[in-house]
């Protein structure tokens, strides 16, 4: 039982379930060991562990039987607070009477409104107050349609009730609302306009007078013509509308095409010509129109042509393309590279044959078609790659020649140095001879002189100094560098 009661008095501990620690609710006693629990408590406990929670003896639900009536009465008669105490009910009662109290007495129990159709649950003490406001309690009889309606919404119904009687504003006849429209359509006193009001007839009058008017109406006479005319006008209007639509579409298409052409012109750049399909002579005629806009690339191209023999070679290839005009005479005059000079003894004079300025940008002939230019560019690239190849081979040869020359030079230098060393050696020998002869002449100074020479000798090998000793370290350095090179 999940409804927790609040007990007013302290309950005897013998009446407390040892599982939920609350007074027994629907107590049961075990047949085997005579322990008492709430029915729900012991059922849950057995479903987990089939033994008595107190003494652990085996237990099943079959061993449970209702507790002694005496015990049941004791716990049922315990005084508890009303379960609605939190809502304000202050009553206390026996536990077994709680249900009756809630059902019949408790002012705070929620009960449904007695009126049919009202779904609200109200506390019992609020029921009288709710009754006053409950719009469901009254029904009113609609005087027109003779049905019962709740007061709530009655006014709205009355305004739209189809059975209400209304008076025709024209003929004072009384009809019900649902038939007003049919009456108005037939009422002889209702003011109607002439059937030809659309064509300009200004007549207005009661319906019964209309027949009289139509006989005299001038528009009635030309009724046939008017209808034909109206049909024609409608046809023309629809045609006009469709034409206007078509014009709009065409304008849009034209604008898009123009934008596309503009974009193409931008992306084509210098290759764009007003008339791309014409031949060379035509383009020469057309070119003045383009030239003032972009004179710079043309000029630069011509300058490049004159400057570089490589470019001249490239243009020589490009001139095979069908549309290249041979405008520049210097172009024909300058041919391919001059033949490479064979490696020779005076190669040093030709040390930088590739030092000529090579323009970075390939020249472009904008007088040809785009396709022609692309072909010529492709050919140019091929030429460039060939000439690069040749250049690198030539460079190799030149390097080899230079190296051989250097080698020879080093050899001759080594010979010179060797001669110098021999001379120095000779001088030193002479000096030594002289000092020896001096030694023989004066024996006292011998020691000091000897020591002095030995230090000098060390000094030579160490680093360059003043005097004739200079040549010795210099020579060794030169030899080392040349050996490294070779």
């Amino acid at each position: 039982m999940s409804a927790g009661f609040t007990y007013v008095d302290n309950v005897n501990t013998n009446l407390i379930c040892c599982i939920c620690r609350a007074p027994f609710l629907n107590p049961v006693t075990t047949r085997s060991c005579a322990h008492t629990f709430c029915l729900e408590c012991i059922q849950t406990a057995i479903s987990i562990t089939p033994q008595c929670p107190v003494d652990r003896s085996t237990l099943t639900t079959l061993d449970l039987r209702p507790a002694n009536p005496l015990l049941r009465n004791l716990v049922d008669e315990l005084t508890v607070e009303c379960p609605n105490a939190s809502l304000g009910c202050t009553q206390t009662m026996q536990r077994q009477l709680v249900d009756i109290h809630l059902r019949d007495d408790c002012a705070h129990a929620s009960v449904p409104c007695t009126h049919p159709g009202c779904e609200r649950q109200v506390q019992r003490k609020e029921l009288g107050k709710h009754d006053e406001t409950c719009r469901r309690q009254d029904v009113a009889m609609c005087p027109y349609c003779a049905t019962e309606r709740a007061v709530e919404g009655f006014e709205t119904h009355k305004r739209i009730c189809g059975r209400e009687e209304v008076v025709c504003p024209s003929c004072d006849a009384v009809t019900i609302r649902a038939e007003v429209d049919t009456h108005t359509a037939a009422c002889p006193l209702t003011v109607v306009a002439c059937a030809h009001s659309g064509n300009g007839c200004a007549w207005e009058g009661a319906r019964h007078a209309f027949a009289h008017h139509i006989a005299a109406c001038p528009y009635e006479a030309i009724k046939g013509f008017l209808s034909i005319h109206a049909g024609k006008v409608a046809a023309l209007e629809s045609e006009n509308a469709s034409l206007r639509r078509k014009v709009d579409e065409l304008e849009g298409g034209l604008r898009a095409a123009a934008e596309e052409a503009q974009a193409a012109r931008r992306s084509l750049g210098p290759w764009f010509r007003a008339d791309a399909s014409t031949s060379t002579s035509a383009s020469a005629v057309a070119s003045p129109a383009v030239q003032p806009q972009r004179p710079a690339p043309e000029e630069r191209v011509l300058r490049d042509r004159r400057m570089s023999p490589l470019n001249a070679a490239m243009l020589g290839v490009a001139s095979d393309a069908p549309f290249v005009p041979r405008t520049d005479p210097s172009l024909d005059a300058s041919s391919f590279f001059p033949p490479f000079s064979p490696p020779s003894e005076d190669a040093s004079s030709d040390a930088f044959p590739y030092g000529r300025a090579l323009p970075a940008a390939p020249s472009v002939n904008i007088n040809t078609t785009l396709e022609g230019s692309l072909t010529s560019l492709r050919n140019s690239i091929m030429t460039v790659s060939t000439s690069l190849d040749t250049m690198s081979r030539r460079h190799d040869v030149a390097l080899m020649t230079e190296t051989l020359r250097m080698h020879e030079e080093v050899q001759s230098l080594r010979a010179i140095v060797h001669g110098l060393r021999m001379q120095v050696h000779q001088i030193m020998m002479e000096r030594s001879q002289m000092s020896l002869s001096n030694l023989y002449s004066s024996g006292q100074t011998r020691t000091s002189e000897d020591g002095g020479w030995s230090t000098r000798a060390e000094y030579f090998n160490d680093r360059p100094s003043t005097g004739p000793s200079m040549s010795v370290p210099l020579m060794t350095t030169v030899r080392r560098t040349t050996e490294n090179k070779l």
Partner: protein, 153 residues
């Protein structure tokens, strides 16, 4: 039945705070109906005289049908008692916390049982398989399958 846990714990809390707390046991924390902390002291002559331990109770919604998870707290302030049935991570090997749990038991009765378990101890030592168990122990001792082999203490 899930509603029984809070009501039963309310009752137990009332009993513990109304002065019916077992001697040597003190309620340290009972803010909710999920985790309670109680201090435990062994009174009288015992190996653990003067030592204060702390027990952490964790209750499931099925309490008291399901047993609570009870461990000694091991932190800066409290240590687990050195006892043959208490692992160094605070887990307790006691049958009443495992398959011998009964709904009639409660927080107070568990505390008294553990007090008695500590008081009857003759020798301060860890369980023989302490290291192996602590290395592999699950977070909740309710997930370990203890083998209850000693009923002397």
């Amino acid at each position: 039945m899930a509603a029984i846990a809070p009501r039963r714990l309310t009752k137990e809390l009332k009993e513990l705070t109304m002065g019916e707390c077992p001697a040597g046991v003190q309620l340290l924390q009972s803010a909710d109906f999920e985790t309670w902390v109680l201090s435990l002291e062994v009174l009288g002559e015992s190996l653990y005289k003067g030592e204060v331990f702390a027990l952490r109770f964790r209750f499931e919604p099925q309490y008291p049908i399901a047993s609570p998870e009870v461990t000694f707290i091991v932190d800066d302030k409290f240590k687990a008692p050195i006892h043959p049935h208490v692992y160094s991570n605070g887990h307790i090997c006691a049958s009443i916390l495992g398959h011998e749990w009964s709904p009639v038991l409660g927080v107070a009765s568990v505390c008294i049982t553990l007090q008695s378990m500590l008081a009857s101890c003759k020798k301060r030592e860890r369980p023989p398989d302490n290291d192996r168990y602590v290395r592999t122990a699950p977070a909740s001792p309710k997930k370990s399958r203890f083998h209850y082999d000693d009923d002397t203490v």
